[in-house]
Amino acid sequence: MLNSSRPVVAGILSLLSGIFILGVGLMLMSLSFMPGSLSYLGLLEGMVMCTLALLLLAYPQFSGILGAFIIVLAIFSIIGTLGGLVLGTIFGMAGGTLAVAWKGPVTEESMVLSSDEDQSVLEA
């Protein structure tokens, strides 16, 4: 089952978000280090978002806190890169939400419980 051992979909969406934010940051790089410009934030946000996405895939046990950081960063990226031209924010919010809501690795026990829940729903 997809996402059974780690939040793959959340990680991929967050990584895409980071790529969009970083891409816009790179496009603005020539302006990034002008005094008064905040576009350097795009580079920083994109790199942190990519790192968080990779950490999410590497350490799924921290999906809750990493997901929360991804959501905050996705919204914060509106400043500096306009959220990676909006797509970065949308992917980041979706990825972060999926990460926070991820139930953890699927064990045999949880699969039994899950099938019991499905059965009780069907009976109801």
């Binding site: 997809l2 979909v9 934030l41 795009g42 919204i75 509106i78 926070v100 809501a101 139930k103």
Partner: protein
Amino acid sequence: MKLGLNIDRKRFALVAGLQIAVLAVIVAVFMINGVALAAFPIAGIGGFVIEADQIIGEGFTLYPIVGETSEQGSSSQAAVDLGKATIIGLRLSKELPVAGGTAKVVITSSGNVVGSGVKLRVTGITADNASFEGLDAEEHYGDYSGDGKVDASDKLDLKAPNVVLENAAINGHALFATAIVIPGMGLDLQFH
């Protein structure tokens, strides 16, 4: 889970709802205040025209600089820094060649535009009347800017604590602002 996402649907709905609410509040604040924070890429388009009934600037500095435009890799320009700027009757326009004609993007404001940390690169400024308070124009020798190299930007600068331009038109190639508030912002697209 039918989709195999292995997620807690209640938690998903709660978090999604919360963040959409937060995002809606942020967008609403932007729309109410007309705030476009920093580095939004109006900059770098090149060759746009800023017209205003009046521009009131504080902490004015002007110095020569070499910068790029949409037509040239490098050209002589003037860098204008303003610590704070109030623009009355702003009209910012840019003409873009499109298939079958020209598209003109016009950004206007119904109120007074207030910006801080404003930096412009320009190739022309015209005004019916320009008044400076405490104008100081100086030539310099050596590395005046302290950036470790001697170039055109070190040779001359104009400074004034206060400047007022009436019926001004600026041919700009880059516009940066640490923060800018555009009340009653309007965007108009015209095809010719």
